[in-house]
């Protein structure tokens, strides 16, 4: 399924990116009160990063520009 080493490396990089973004200390930046458009900051941050990560995964495996 993984057509090239490059794709595999990109996926691994996305894994590391996710681990960093979903954990201390980056999480700490958003782990406080306040909101964006009425949505609590932490919740909005997690959902948006999650969606972005899924998007990047999709582009990486489906893109096929190696």
């Amino acid at each position: 399924m993984i057509r090239s080493r490059l794709t595999a490396q990109r996926l691994f990089a996305l894994f590391l990116l996710g681990v960093v973004l979903f954990n201390f200390p980056v999480l700490h930046i958003f782990n406080r009160g306040g909101d964006v458009f009425g949505i609590p900051l932490l919740y909005a941050y997690l959902m948006v990063i999650w969606l972005v990560l899924i998007g990047l995964l999709a582009v990486t495996v489906e893109g096929g520009t190696d």
Partner: protein, 917 residues
């Protein structure tokens, strides 16, 4: 409308639909047109990860802790980013070795150990039973909640309900029957259930749509969107007590991170996840789509969890369990159908989990626990029975019943003490104990059976002591002072702050100690001794991947020994068919032609492994094969040779690929050279031809003048005029050929400056004005002042304009001719600013088929046979070369009889420093 019998009927109809789908899926699989051979179905079936815990429990957890429910779903997202490494490798290994469960996987890797398979099975069964209890609890709770519609009454304590009135009992019985029908219809050598997977994918859709429906209803039906809910929730008195006072309380990083990794492990190591992701996978390529589709599924099903939880807290300040908010919110607003639909969604979440989990567990119990035991007990005399496939199915059916009965028992006894989520987390930590042995299996050749046994035992014991026993204590099974004072009254052994470790919640606490002990024991004990021959062989198969079918055991057995053995487990027909296929694969005619060699033994062993697990298969084959095991030195020798050969062949492949690439390049270059050579020949012959035409006419007229002195003066002048004009044409032709040769070879002299093309156009037009007047043709210029700048050679640009203008002048009719020049700044298709110059005439136009031809050397528009050529046929090619040198394009737009429009573009130069030269 929501009376008890309606709900029961609807539930049964739903289960009927599931069964129909499963039946149809199996039917399609039998006829070879698989229903589940699609990456989308694979991704959906992975959604079995989302159980009632997700469906009801997440809302409860969100109500208690804000975003605390999310790591359970972020973890699998991260794991699937790793799918390319871990899952892909597992899939390959599992397919090659006919692995049928996670117990089989671990057992097979560490030397096909029956002991290890048994231990993994016990851990899985003990660990998963609370999780199954959780599903029963959720279904029976949801049933009793909506049964009392329109009143909202929380379900009574189970202990107060007599056995025959307990809904969960009936749920358990129906699910057991259902799973038996689903999962053990026939015995398959690959342990795959296509119909079941199709039904699970369908259930994933139902639960997702149901949750989205209730989410949309709560957010936009009851409230005015997300912001409205968050604003109202912030005003609740309960929120004021939380730290920060916000609806989303800050998370504790320790338990957050622990849950993240816990969920990462669980989404692969839970028996049902392993079953769906690895065993039921029909095509490894499907994993690619699942990498992003499964996380997307998780995101969607969690989108409304927090809003629903907060809305529940707004509507029911007290008295309603947060785990039931998805049901009670629609109920409070008299939405009968929505309530029923949500209930069905919850039912689908529960049934999906229970079906897959019990099928996976029953396979493990049968292959790794019961069969090895039966073979050891002489009482059963299994060796003498001819067909065991019926026995295997019976064991599995009984196992399913027993597992569900145990789940129900746990629910009756301990279920009340916990919320849905904390029950599930207990199971998660239990299966996380497989992580060191499983990941070590794939990446570390040094792991041994003893190491894996030690690691699993230590991890399992710590888990039992710090998590399972306290949960019993809370349910009143054990004295509570065991919790507060520790075993033997030793304070240091208090289960939930072992060795004085405090400051973590119970899950994180247990995870730290159990996985630490597990990993240390696994690695430490593994390093005590070198792997045995069998372990080393399996390590090579698992870690290096490709070394398949290495005959490590000397010794042989013929078809006459092996076929009856396999037939006893698979049935005679299936066994014969499999052997026949293998014979064909080996290129032998008929089963009896198969040689009695190690390959055949290995084939039979793998075939058996699919039905009874690798450990039992090894034991069975060993009983009929006379074999002498190789020593470790010999095994290592064989493995070394094999891996060396593999690396040689990889090198060789790379070399030959390089060679092939070089050959292709050379061939291309050669073809290009030939083409150029041919073009050069063409060019020379055309040029010679073009030069000969004026030369012939000059020579003819000069000879006439030379030989006949009597020609009168007017004739003489006319002849001389022709000679002069032909000479001019000749020299023009030669100039242009030289020009073209220079451009082609790239030796043209260019002095590129920043200039305004508008000025150059005006200058060119002025120089041509006399010619236009002579033919009475009007020339209109539409140029902006001062106009845009471009980088170009002034003289060459002049040449372009003169060429285009004289070209237009040549073709327009006398006295009625009109030529216009327009300059504009526009943007190109790739959004760059460009200058566009068009020269339009009202001449005869150019045929569509000639519109590209006229830019070729010596080619002219019109009919070559009838029309007299005007010009050399080199003007436009030269013009195009110049324009392209400046980075622009030149083309023509025209329709016959309606005139032609030559257009060229130049890149805009933004810098306004014009050097006036």
């Amino acid at each position: 409308m929501l009376q008890g019998w309606v709900i029961v009927v609807v539930s049964l109809v739903y289960l009927g639909i599931l069964f129909a789908i499963a039946w149809y899926g199996d039917h399609r699989a039998d006829t070879g047109r698989s229903l589940i051979s699609s990456p989308v179905v694979y991704a959906l079936s992975l959604g079995v990860y989302c159980t009632t815990w997700t469906f009801y429990g997440s809302v409860g957890r969100a109500a208690a802790s804000g975003v605390g429910f999310l790591p359970i779903y972020l973890g699998p997202t991260l794991l699937f980013a790793l799918a390319g490494f871990v899952l892909m490798k597992m899939l390959r290994v599992a397919k090659a070795n006919r692995i049928t469960s996670i117990a089989d996987f671990v057992a097979s890797r560490y030397g096909k150990s029956q002991l290890l398979g048994g231990l993994v099975t016990i851990i899985a069964v003990v660990g998963i039973i609370p999780y199954i209890a959780l599903q029963l609890k959720a279904v029976s709770n949801s049933f009793s909640v909506i049964e009392s519609y329109p009143q909202i009454i929380m379900p009574a304590s189970v202990a107060a309900v007599p056995l025959h009135q307990d809904g969960a009992l009936y749920v358990a019985i129906i699910l057991a029957g259902f799973t038996i029908l689903f999962g053990t219809r026939h015995l398959d050598a690959t342990e795959r259930h296509e119909g079941m997977v199709a039904a699970i994918a369908f259930e994933s859709i139902i639960k997702l749509v149901a949750f989205l429906a209730v989410g949309i209803f709560v957010v936009w039906g009851i409230h005015d969107g997300f912001a409205d809910i968050f604003a109202k929730a912030a005003a609740l008195p309960a929120m004021a007590q939380r730290s920060g006072g916000a609806p989303v309380t800050p998370v504790a990083y320790g338990s957050w991170g622990a849950l993240l990794f816990l969920a990462m492990f669980a989404s692969l190591l839970l028996p049902r996840q392993f079953q769906i992701a690895i065993v039921e996978n029909v095509n490894p390529g499907h994993l690619r789509r699942a990498v992003w589709m499964f996380p997307l599924y998780l995101l969607l099903i969690n989108l409304f969890v927090l809003p629903v939880a907060l809305a529940g807290m707004i509507h029911f300040p007290t008295g309603v369990d947060a785990d039931t908010f998805v049901l009670t919110l629609p109920m409070a607003h008299q939405q009968e159908f929505l309530t029923l639909f949500v209930y069905i969604g919850g039912l689908s979440a529960a049934t999906g989990m229970v079906i897959v989990e019990t099928i996976a567990l029953s396979t493990m119990v049968c292959n790794d626990l019961v069969m090895p035991a039966l073979f050891r007990l002489p009482f059963f005399r299994l060796e003498e029975r001819s067909d065991l496939s019926g026995l295997l199915l019976t064991i599995r059916r009984v196992a399913i019943g027993v597992i569900l009965a145990l789940g129900y028992l746990y629910f009756r006894i301990a279920g009340e003490a916990h919320a849905l989520v904390s029950i599930g987390l207990i199971s998660f930590v239990a299966v996380a104990q497989f992580a060191p042995a499983v990941f070590g299996a794939l990446y570390w050749k040094g792991g041994t059976r003893d190491g894996a046994l030690a690691g699993l035992l230590v991890g399992f014991m710590v888990w039992g002591y710090t998590l399972m026993l306290p949960s019993f204590a809370k349910s009143g099974w054990l004295p509570v002072d065991f919790m507060s004072s520790g075993m033997f009254g030793l304070d240091i052994l208090r289960p939930q702050s072992l060795f004085g470790l405090t400051g973590f919640d119970e899950i994180t606490h247990c995870m730290i100690w159990s996985l630490l002990g597990n990993t240390v024991a696994y690695a430490g004990v593994s390093l005590l001794r070198a792997p045995t021959a069998r372990e080393a062989h399996q390590a090579a198969v698992f870690v290096s991947g490709n070394i398949e079918g290495l005959p490590v055991w000397r010794g042989s057995a013929g078809v006459t020994d092996l076929l009856p053995l396999v037939a006893r487990f698979l049935g005679a027909e299936k066994a014969k068919a499999a052997f026949a296929e293998y014979a064909q694969h080996r290129g032998v005619f008929g089963i009896n032609g198969l040689k009695a060699d190690a390959g055949l033994v290995l084939f039979a062993e793998n075939l058996l492994a699919g039905a009874i697990g690798s450990g039992s298969a090894r034991a069975m084959v060993a009983s009929v094969v006379e074999e002498e095991p190789l020593g470790i030195d010999e095994v290592m020798h064989i493995l070394d040779e094999a891996s060396q050969m593999r690396s040689y062949s990889i090198e060789l492949e790379a070399k030959s690929r390089e060679l092939q690439e070089a050959t292709t390049e050379l061939r291309d270059a050669n073809a290009r050279l030939r083409e150029l050579d041919r073009m050069k020949d063409d060019f020379i012959s055309t040029v010679t031809h073009e030069l000969r035409t004026p030369l012939t006419s000059i020579r003819a007229f000069s000879e006439m003048l030379h030989e006949d002195p009597d020609i009168d003066v007017t004739e003489r002048v006319r002849f001389l005029g022709i000679i002069v004009s032909e000479t001019e044409r000749l020299s023009r032709l030669i100039n242009q050929i030289l020009d073209l040769a220079k451009l082609d070879s790239g030796r043209g002299e260019w002095s590129v400056n920043t200039l305004r093309p508008g000025e150059v156009i005006r200058e060119a037009a002025d120089s041509m004005l006399a010619l236009f007047h002579e033919k009475a043709v009007s020339l209109e210029l539409d140029l902006p002042d001062p106009g845009p700048a471009a980088l170009a050679d002034r003289d060459r640009l002049m040449q372009v304009m003169v060429n285009l203008l004289s070209n237009a002048l040549k073709f327009v009719p006398k006295s009625e001719g009109r030529v216009s020049v327009v300059l504009r700044v526009t943007s190109s298709p790739d959004m760059k600013k460009i200058i566009r110059v068009s020269v339009t005439d009202n001449g005869p136009g150019i045929r569509l088929e000639d519109q590209e031809l006229i830019f070729e050397k010596f080619r002219q528009g019109g009919d070559v046979m009838t029309d007299k050529p005007q010009g050399t046929g080199l003007g436009l090619p030269i013009t195009r070369q110049i324009v392209e040198y400046f980075g622009g394009r030149l083309w023509v737009e025209s329709t016959l009889t309606k005139g032609a429009c030559f257009v060229f573009t130049l890149p805009l130069h933004e810098d306004d420093n014009i050097e006036n030269k």
